[in-house]
Each structure stands twice: as C-alpha cells, then as structure tokens.
Symmetry: C2
Subunit: 391 residues, 2 copies
C-alpha cells in the first residue's frame, strides 16, 4: 500500500460517553521522553500514581494500581481474580455494562445469578438483599454509573449489606471516578475498576483498580491459578510493590498521563470536582428539557457526567449526529444494545464539564434538530441553561 500521510485530524469536542477530551496539561506530558520500567525515577512515579489513585478512590487499600489496558480489562481483572469455577456470583444488570459483567464473569466457570431491572432504572437495595439472602454469593457485581442508560446507582450501603452475607462487592466505576462521589473505604467496596479516558481526562489505555484487604485474602487463598496471566493480580502486584518484580513492560507514557490527570483532579479537590459536574449537568438538563427532550434514566438517578436522552419520535439518530460531527466537530454518543438508535448520550466528563461546552452543545443540537424538522422553541435550550447557571 502507499503510505498514509501525516496525522492531521479535524479537531473534535468529545461530548459522548468517553473518551472525553484530554486535558491540555495531560497532552503536554505525553511528549516526555521515555524511561525504563525499572528505572529508579520510574519507580518513584509509580508510587506517586498509586498514592494519588488511593486519594482519588478515597481508600487506604495498598493494592491500588492502574492495569495496563483499558477499562474492560479492569472489569475482567476484578472478576477473574476473585472468582473460581463453581463459585456463586450475582450480576446486577440494568444496562449494557451490567450485561458485560455477567458475560465476563461467565467465562470464569462461576455460577452466575443474573438480577435484572429495566434499562434506565436502578436497583432497589431491598431486592438485592433478598437475592443475597437466597443465593449467598461469593461476589456481587454492580455498575455504579451505567454508561448505556445514564442511570446512577446508589451504592453507599451496598458494601455493608454484602458483608452481612460474606459477599464481596465488585463495582464498575468506569464512568464515575473523578465525576461523582465515590468512597471506596467508607462504602466498603472490595474491588473496583475504572478507566483513564473519562473523569480523569487522559487518553484511554489504563484501568485503575483497587482491592480491599478482604478481597486480597480471597485472591491469596485461591485454589486454581487465575485464568489470565496478564491480569493475574498476584503477579502484577509484585511489580507494583516494593518487590518491583518484572511482569510486563508498563505503558510508561500512559503512566505519565494518569499522573498528570490525577494531579489535576486532586488540585481541584474531589468535592469541588463533584460540585462542578452537578452544576453543569443541571444547566444542560434544564436546556435539554426545555427543548422537549426526555432523559432515559429515571428521575432522581441521572448521572451528571452522562446525560442519556431519548431521541424524539421520527428523528434519525445518525443524520443528527453526523451533522453535529461535521458542522461542529461535536461527538455525542449513540445508544448501545437495546438503546441503539433510541438515545443520545451526552457526556460532560472531567475537564469537559464546562459551561462553554453546555452552551455550545445545546445551541448546536438545536440547529441540528431544526434542520431535520424537529420543532423546538428557538433558543429555549440556551435560555434555560443560562437561567440555571444564574439561579
């Protein structure tokens, strides 16, 4: 083949479900020349990243580190390290990513009980309690921020409840870390995974995980080897601890990136970060509702960082998203699975949760909707958003 030309893409504003735009400070550290994965300088950076990750997760878990792959590998890491063939697990499914927990867990040979609520809803913890009581699983898997529906699952009390039944709680925090409150120790979460490309405003490529001492005990007492060599936490953790035992070559540049992303997060402070996400969400929501759009997640459980709205009757998903992308360089997410063609997912994550993005998203969406004949009171979205900001 003839060689492709120099990389020169049209700029985008990534207001989808992730990746979101990388913070400029993170972009700039990515040109830092490499060092070796066993360089004394790098070992210091590893400690710094682990320390900041603990602060971001609000945990003291020593076993907190970034997996050298994307968020889905973090999900697999948590499940394959805790489960062995024949173990019982309950997978709570309220959307596409809950289904994935079920699918990934199934490959361990564990005996999985699937608990479903309709997409867009969240679990009533009393129902979960009944299932825990009946099944007595080793592990329960729950998605905190269901990226496919925009539903925000309350999990503050879930860890404590799981522990009453000697169950380990695994939480999918891919879309929640760095956006909404997440308190690993206080909420008694045993294993948690996230990603680099959403609330942390880094490129995709890492999956931060954390395991409680209780989870660690389970891992240490496994009867069978973990089915994945690459994701085997007993080996990976020997590199991410004082042993510094070589396992695989760490993705150095991505470690530079997440270090900067975490610095930015902690400079702002978690409460300020959460508050910012809430404020911009309220304005965006006011605008979307004023334009006649409805959220797909139930009222009271809508994620600030991921606004999933139903596509109005008769409006073509792709025509609108294509126009947004081509005329404005704005990316919204389409629907996944059951929601394909039925919802748009508008992300305001990490660095991207900014008033200017809210106003631009609303006004550009207005033009795109008007162009396909959807009737919207001119300016309604922006007017409502501005009102919300000034309230």
């Amino acid at each position: 083949m003839s060689l492709p030309g120099q990389l020169n893409p049209s700029p985008r504003l990534l207001l989808g479900p992730g990746p979101s735009d990388v913070h400029p400070r993170v972009l700039s550290v990515m040109t830092t020349p490499l060092m070796g994965h066993l360089d004394p300088q790098f070992l210091v950076l590893m400690n710094e990243v682990q320390g900041m990750l603990r602060d971001a997760f609000l945990t003291k878990n020593p076993f907190t580190l970034p997996i050298s792959a994307t968020g889905m590998a973090g999900m697999e890491t948590c499940l394959v390290n805790l489960l062995e063939p024949g173990d019982k697990m309950v997978a709570c499914v309220k959307g596409f990513f809950g289904t994935r927990i079920f699918d990934v867990a199934q490959r361990t040979g564990a005996d999985i009980t699937r608990l479903d609520v309709p997409w867009g809803q969240v679990f009533d913890l009393n129902v979960v309690r009944e299932t825990l009581k009946k099944v007595r699983p080793k592990v329960l898997g729950m998605v905190h921020a269901e990226t496919s529906t925009g539903a925000w699952q309350p999990i503050e009390e879930l860890g404590k409840m799981c522990h009453e039944f000697d169950t380990l709680l695994v939480v999918d925090a891919v879309t929640s870390l760095g956006c909404v409150p997440l308190k690993v120790d206080e909420w008694e979460i045993d294993a948690i995974f996230s990603c680099s490309q959403k609330g942390l405003s880094c490129p995709p490529g890492l999956s931060p995980v954390s395991f409680s001492p209780r989870a660690l005990d389970v891992i240490k007492n496994r009867k069978s080897p973990v089915q994945s060599w690459y994701l085997d936490m007993q080996m990976v953790s020997k590199y991410w601890s004082e042993d510094r035992h070589y396992h695989h070559t760490a993705p150095i540049t991505m470690i530079y990136a997440i270090r900067e992303g975490l610095r930015i997060l902690l400079e702002e402070g978690l409460p300020a970060r959460w508050e910012r996400h809430t404020k911009n969400h309220k304005a965006l929501k006011a605008g979307l509702v004023a334009m006649g759009l409805e959220y797909s997640a139930v009222e009271g459980h809508q994620l600030p960082q991921l606004n999933a709205v139903k596509i109005p009757q008769g409006i073509d998903d792709l025509v609108v998203r294509k126009k947004l992308l081509n005329d404005f360089g704005i990316e919204f997410g389409g629907g996944l699975g059951d929601f394909r063609g039925k919802v748009w997912r508008i992300g305001l994550m990490g660095h991207n949760s900014q008033p200017k993005n809210v106003l631009l998203a609303l006004s550009a969406l207005e033009q795109c909707l008007q162009s396909v004949g959807y009737e919207v009171s001119p300016g309604a979205g922006v007017v409502a958003a501005n009102k919300a900001y000034l309230a």
Copy 2:
C-alpha cells in the same frame, strides 16, 4: 498525601531490552487531541494501521491488528485463542520468554510438552521435527528473538515443518519486528505477536498480532469460549473489521503513535532497516569484544538489536549499571531469571540503532568498567567500532 510536582525526569538513553527511545516524530503526534473510537476519522486510521502492520509483518493476513495492551498480552492472545483444554502444545524454551510461553499456555488447560535448550543456544530444527513427529501437537510456540539471552532463532523453515504435522506455529516476535527479517507469509507463521516499544520506537502499550487463515479457522471452530473476554479475537476482530462492532475503547493516542512508528519504518524500508541494525550491531560487537566481553548467545545466532554480554568475573552488575545511569543517563538491561546478575543486555532497537549510540555506549561502558577496576585497553572499544564502520 501532598501532591507530587510537575513531571520532570532526567533524560535517558534507553539502550536496554526495551522500551527503547521513542522516535521524536512519534512523540510529537502524541499531543494530537483525541477523537472517538467510532469516529469516521478514526476508522480510517485503523485501516491505515492495519495496512501498514501487514506490510511490516510481510503478510496479507486480513486478521492483523494491534492488541490494546503490552506485548505479554499479545502472547496471551495468541495462546488463549488457539488452545482449548486438552489440546497438545509444544513450548520451545531457550530463555526467559520461552518459559513464559510455557507458563501462559499452561493456564489454558492444554497439555504442554516443554522442549528445552540451554539459555544462550538456539533450537536445531531437526530436534524440533522429532518432537513434532512424536507429540503431533496442535500448536508449537517459538521465540524468534529471545530477549533474555540475545539468541536469534532461525525460523524460516519452521512453519512449513509444523504444517507437515498439522501443527500451528506461534511466534514471539516482540523483539524482532522492525529490527531483523521477519516474513510471516513466506515463513508460514500462523500466529505472531510483537510490541510497540522496541523495533517500532513507540511507547509501550500495544501488541501487534497477526493470524493466518489456518489459525482463524481454528479460532472460528472452537468448542469452548476463549477464557479471556478482553483478548477474545472473535470479538476484538469485529471492531477491527467492517462491522466496527464496539468491544472496548481503543487506546486512541497509542494508535496515533504506532501509525507514525509504522510510517517511519516503511519510509525507511524493511531491507534498509534490517541492514542498519546489522551494521550497528557489528560495530558494537567489535567494540565489546575488543573490551574483552563475551556474548551470552552462541556465535552465529546473536541478535543485532539485543546484545547480551556476560558480566566479567568479579564485576558488580548494579554498581556498573547505576554509574551508567547516573553519570551518562544510559540504561542497559540487567539479566532475567537464570541470567540475573550475570549478563548485561544492550539494545540497539529501531530509532536507537545509530552509530552515535554505539560509540557513546562503548566509551561510557569503558569508563564505568575502569572505575570498578576492570582492566580494559584504553579506547579499545571505540577504536574497534570505528574500524568496523570504516571497513
């Protein structure tokens, strides 16, 4: 904890077993703002990367793509997709990474026959043939460039031999791609994996793989699901093909990087690249030998890109490498496994295979060796290297 300061590492020259230094052009594309993993612009880049990877591997295999994790995940990908419980495999072990093929394959539940030669040697293909005849394995695993010993395994005829016995050939090309001749189709290799951070001079984080049509058939006709969800090629390939079926979020920035690394490789051209590695190796070797150092790999099978030499009697590994790092910013690799404390591994990979690095490595090593009392004829290394270049 208090926040760590701005990233500001001392510069390094990475002359170890990898990562090697990133090409400046690759570094510069890493600040390119993100786009979404389903953006039409990104789909074009994916096609370009696949096309160039095929050219780099000298294959027409449609099923050629970069795995979203480091080289060891590429190894796992090849093995877990081809093997099922009870399958027979032969793992050829001539160093640390051959042992890893054995270890990773064992987790599939396959029945593994381990064939060993002493570290530093290579396999006589007649011996391999005897084993193929006796075992009739489904898969044979062989390391092309054994990074722990610097041994270069001839594999030109191995694929054809494997196919006589209906065996699939899996090749570890982590340290060979972009450095020495590697001809996937001509050599009838069925599954191959490499990495981004050696011959391609990109950061670590991707593992290019390629599967032959014969290997694909085996994957398509599996009886059991692949034990790893993240590395399941049937699913991953649906994203890296016209389907564009979402599997996981691609590490966008790393795809930018490998695209540039591949452009640089193919602009130079494979034969010129291989020739450059040979030329610089010959000069380095002349210098090292003139300084009284001995290669750990047998004569005639020494990798140009990875020069493993025995640490002279009485010389402390760490003292010398620490001085190299602190006084010159140069990283050499230490020994792995059986070779720990016994060899240094000097890499001249991709962009780093340059005369200036050869001369600097030799003269800095001379000073470090002199400082610990090793007697070396002053200037011998550089003199011999210059002579080799001018020959």
